[in-house]
């Protein structure tokens, strides 16, 4: 294997990690509050505002139903405004983040809905405000589920990041297509796939480990 190839692979891995890490972070920053709001704003709930809930739900669903490759192309003008350019690795973070936000929001919503309503009742009986209930009860109790959800999001974003070559984003997927497919270098394609497999395994293992650490629900799952 030539030193040149090793360098290319390392560079591409780094670019992939960079895109996925930043878009996961931004996706979580956006998705967490939206997910919490979706979980708590139906009629009669903590932050009861049914209309906003419905509108937001529709927006989230709409974003999630656009195929990622179409999303990338469709929002090019928006990407140009946000990133200053519409091509390149940094620009690719924009569509990745926009895909991540509604995805993470739904995962967070589901985890929060699974929290026993008795706990909300107990917190209300202590005189907690809705914000206190969210911060001190719902998020900590949903944390194992949220952790697993974020793991799933990272794995999905690893996959999405392979498509950003379409707008000049680099990374493992782009390398695999350009060399492995267009220049007939099957060994590059093979290595790219191998690295992706290892990355996914790693993310999954670390995510599950963290989720176990924060999950105190069963004695066997004790973190200590």
């Amino acid at each position: 294997m030539s030193a040149n190839l090793v360098n290319m692979l390392m560079e591409a891995t780094w670019q992939t990690l960079y895109m996925v890490a930043v878009s996961t972070l931004l996706g979580a920053i956006g998705g967490l509050p939206i997910g919490v709001f979706l979980a708590c704003s139906q009629k009669g709930e903590l932050l009861s505002s049914p209309t906003v809930n419905k509108v937001l739900g529709v927006v989230v669903n709409a974003t999630r139903s656009v195929p990622f490759i179409i999303l990338v192309v469709a929002i090019i003008p928006f990407t140009r405004i946000v990133a200053g350019t519409s091509i390149g690795t940094t620009a690719a973070i924009v569509p990745l983040t926009i895909a991540a936000v509604p995805f993470i929001a739904r995962l967070v919503e589901n985890s929060i809905r699974e929290v026993d309503s008795g706990l909300i009742e107990a917190a209300r009986s202590m005189g907690a405000t809705p914000m206190q209930i969210i911060r001190k009860v719902l998020i900590p109790e949903a944390l194992p589920g949220i952790t697993l959800g974020l793991t799933l999001a990272v794995v999905s974003l690893l996959g999405y990041s392979a498509m950003v070559g379409a707008v000049g984003g680099e990374g493992l997927g782009d390398l695999g297509i350009r060399y492995g497919y267009q220049r007939f270098m099957p060994e590059v394609m093979g290595l790219v796939v191998l690295i992706l497999i290892v990355l996914v395994q790693l993310v999954q293992t670390i995510g599950e480990w963290i989720a176990r650490r924060v999950d105190k629900r069963a004695p066997s799952n004790r973190g200590a």
């Binding site: 026993d116 706990l119 009986s125 202590m126 005189g127 001190k136 105190k216």
Partner: protein, 353 residues
Amino acid sequence: MQTDTTTGAAITFDAVGKAFPKKGGGSVMALEDISLSVEPGTITGIIGRSGAGKSTLLRMVNGLEKPTSGAVTVAGRDVGAAGAADLREIRREVGMIFQHFNLLSSRTVRENVALPLEISGTPAREIAPRVDDLVERVGLQDFRNRYPAELSGGQKQRVGIARALATQPKVLLSDEATSALDPETTQTVLELLGDINRDLGLTILLITHEMAVVRDIASHVAVIEDGHIVEDGSTYDVFTAPQHPTTQSFLSSVTGVTLPHFIARQLRDTRPEGNAREVMRITFAGENATDPLIAEMSRDLGLQVNILAGAVEEIGPRPFGNLLISVDADGAEQARAFLERNQQRTEVLGYVG
């Protein structure tokens, strides 16, 4: 303690009604015309069947439900009319424990007990010693850094009790707090509640569907059925002289005094021709509960008394007994007169040939 200026009660229900909107229009009356006054420092039991409205009644005390008519007051403050901020303040003075404990699985025992203090904005340095005190009071000092998943049901309820006491409330609400526990654990949890009531002068309002819980701990009881209070008073009075059929049926399960089968089968409502015996229930209560009245009656009236079933119980420090006997039907009226002269209640159950 700030009490209701007009009645001095810790909690009052004044003609309270609660209607829930029904799916597809209309409404269900969960409670109707409830009037009840809970004196400070007492333990009052609310007993009723499933769906009778017990939880709804209790949840109105800390404003988890609002009455649709009438008013509920705690320490003189109208709960239903309280705004959000007032309501939070009232809730800090009213602790609550639950059938399924409702502990945060992500927090240790100490952290769970600390939660209401964090919510009320108590400074961190005051929280730690207060929490340690409470954990010790409920006897869990050796478990203070465990998670709820590592505790037994009884231990979890102790955490629930410590947590409910954290903000030093005047009133404690208990919704079937022992229903998920075995009989022995139930006893220890009830004892703990009794101790707290005595030591802290806490007013306790508890819901149960078991008369045994009422007998063991409550000084007052209200029986609720279909959203109405059908009977209420001191536990002793209600146990010794139940008026309503629902109360009587709840009591039969706890006093456990029933006719042997072979007699129950022969029992008739009217006196048959010829030789017959009258079957009666005697409820011993008050001063004479422990006197040897049956022996006296048998001797003085020359009556042969056949004892069919019986038991003596205690309600608080006071004994009361239930006895099923049969006597010759010809002497039965005399016998009942004798017993009633001695302040015992009798009830004719029927006749056997």
